[in-house]
């Protein structure tokens, strides 16, 4: 059974940096592996349309198991990933936490 090491990194403006290591099993999403390890990552729809679970892939490789509808091309090009449907294909380092989601859009009038 293929297992990949995934390093989760929380870097928020407000909170101290934190890291955790988890391992994903075959066909397991990062969110599922994190839940198995009792780590609370944000999520909403769990099928790729709401963006609550957005993370940013720093190194490694993963595949979305279904269409990542919450992300636009510009987000995908910047390495944003949806952890509810993202299955690692190599060891990964991923920035996680609610702050990542907030980077997807900005105030157009300010």
């Amino acid at each position: 059974m293929t297992e990949y090491e995934v390093e989760l990194v929380w870097e928020g403006a407000e909170k101290a940096d934190r890291e955790a290591n988890i391992a994903t099993r075959e066909d397991e999403t990062v969110l599922e592996a994190a839940e198995r390890a009792d780590l609370g990552l944000p999520f909403g729809c769990r099928i790729g349309h709401c963006g609550s679970c957005t993370g940013r892939l720093l190194t490694g490789d993963l595949e979305h198991a279904r269409r990542p509808l919450a992300l636009k091309d510009r987000h995908l090009d910047d390495g944003y990933v949806l952890l509810c449907i993202a299955e690692p294909r190599a060891d990964c380092r991923i920035r996680v936490g609610v702050d990542v989601q907030r980077e997807l859009v900005s105030n157009p009038w300010k």
Partner: protein, 468 residues
């Protein structure tokens, strides 16, 4: 009834066919709701942690609004959802005045959807102060009908429940409607798939055999946050759909155009005689009046209120008002609403619905509100969801719109939590006064600061009750 006949004249016609010897839920007429209702004692409020650092489930808050009580203006109970991440948003009753002829039916169960999760919760309010979660419908069962992202809940006559759904099973378009039976089981899809693309709120007026629905956007568009690229790509709605209520099909679509971007809350007048209503176009900062032209039998819509954008020293572009919620008083005389970005509540006399007359405004919260602090804490965000007492004398509001949109426009809401505030309304004079003694601080919840969204009263309210 002529197009401009006033609601009080209309209700004088009184040719409805209720059997008053039968005890169903609600009130026989809107006027009966005004006259016979008791003052609200508790409010149910959607409260949430989505988009904050707090890893806890959203909850239904029970707020004490009885001034005689020792716990006045406090959250006295919280019904936690079984999962995190739902994004509680709008919710509704299993029964309202539209079933007031149905013996044995009670206004007792709240249907509480998770807008992100597509999970539906049923809460029993038999004990009004300590309601109880009795059932959940899991997302898979909703997806089975190629629907997601539940929004507005209206009971429909005889105990059935209709929920507007903003997306298909993937969170893309088209949306539609989900029907539940009186045992809170999914009956199936109410509409023909593809009859509409975008969906949001709806209201029905059974005596006129009409339902109206409005448009936000696909879940994949609005859920990740507000992105101007989506406006430019035409991904946001600007249409109203008028349905044949009996036949469940769209008979007319009215395009509101550039001035009608993101039409949200649709409110028919309460009097069942009327075919007049209003909708707030949030992004264009306008309010539209819609009505049936009696000669052609077609619906028309016309902009009747226009809120100007305002310059703010810290913003590059003029700030739009963003009127995100409106409601009509039970006697159909006043339209209330809030400009969320500006920080303003407004009250219009709509006795002549074609010509709303501004009665009063209140400047509070948001970017320009005169009042920015109450009871020693900052008010973050302008008035957002509003709710009026049945007698029309107390207007309450909360300050959170939607987690991702809050995070873009009022990011402090995540750290400080929302507030619920109140104004005293004088319907005779057409005035509102901020009640400085009333503040419910959702920043002080056991798990951490929470957002607060829609509110409902146990005995029905101006945003849910419909008459046959």
């Amino acid at each position: 009834m002529s197009d401009t006949e006033s609601p009080s004249e209309a209700s004088a016609h009184e040719h409805h066919e209720h059997h008053h010897d039968v005890e169903g839920p609600g009130y026989a007429t809107p006027q009966a709701a005004v006259e016979q209702s008791e003052r609200e004692k508790v409010a149910y409020v959607m409260s949430l942690y989505v988009g904050t650092d707090v890893d806890a489930p959203d909850f239904l808050a029970v707020v004490d609004v009885d001034p005689e009580s020792d716990t006045y203006a406090e959250v006295i109970d919280r019904v936690e959802m079984p999962n995190v991440g739902d994004e509680l948003h709008h919710f509704g009753w299993n029964a309202c005045s539209s079933s007031c002829h149905v013996e044995g039916l009670e206004r007792r169960h709240l249907i509480v959807p998770g807008n992100r999760s597509s999970r539906l919760h049923v809460v029993d309010t038999k004990n009004r102060e300590n309601p109880e979660m009795v059932k959940t419908i899991e997302p898979e069962e909703v997806h089975d009908h190629d629907l997601s992202a539940p929004h507005t809940v209206h009971c429909i006559p005889d105990g059935e429940i209709l929920v507007s759904m903003l997306g298909d099973a993937d969170g893309d378009l088209p949306g539609g409607f989900l029907e539940l039976n009186d045992d809170f089981e999914v009956v199936g899809r109410w509409d023909a798939p593809g009859d509409i693309e975008k969906n949001y709120d709806f209201w029905y007026q059974p005596r006129q055999n009409v339902m109206v629905s409005s448009e936000w956007a696909a879940p994949k568009v609005y859920q990740p946050g507000f992105d101007m690229a989506d406006v430019e790509a035409g991904n946001y709605g600007h249409q109203l759909h008028f349905w044949d209520w009996e036949n469940r099909e769209v008979v007319q679509t009215v395009d509101l155009g550039e001035e009608g971007m993101i039409p949200l809350e649709v409110r028919f007048l309460h009097t069942p005689e009327s075919t007049h209503g209003f909708v707030n176009a949030a992004l264009s900062s306008n309010i539209f009046h819609f009505w049936e032209d009696r000669e052609s039998g077609e619906y028309r819509a016309e902009k009747v209120v226009d809120f100007e954008a305002r310059e703010h020293p810290d913003w590059d572009m003029p700030v739009p008002a963003l009127p995100t919620d409106i409601l009509l008083s039970m006697d159909d005389r006043y339209l209330f609403g809030g400009n969320w970005l500006h920080g303003e509540l407004y009250m219009y006399d709509v006795s002549d619905p074609k010509n709303p007359r501004r009665a009063d405004t209140l400047s509070v919260g948001g970017l320009f509100g005169d009042v920015q602090e109450l009871g020693g804490r900052d008010i973050v965000g302008g008035p957002q969801m509003i709710q009026l007492s049945l007698d029309g004398e107390r207007l309450y509001w909360t300050t959170s719109l939607y987690s991702t949109w809050d995070n873009t426009f009022f990011p402090e809401e995540a750290e400080k939590g929302s507030v619920m505030l109140k104004a005293d309304v004088n319907p005779r004079k057409g005035t509102m006064t901020l009640d400085e003694e009333f503040m419910v601080d959702f920043g002080e919840m056991p798990n951490g600061p929470a957002r607060a969204h829609e509110m409902r009263w146990p005995d029905g309210d101006c945003t849910s009750d419909v008459w046959q």
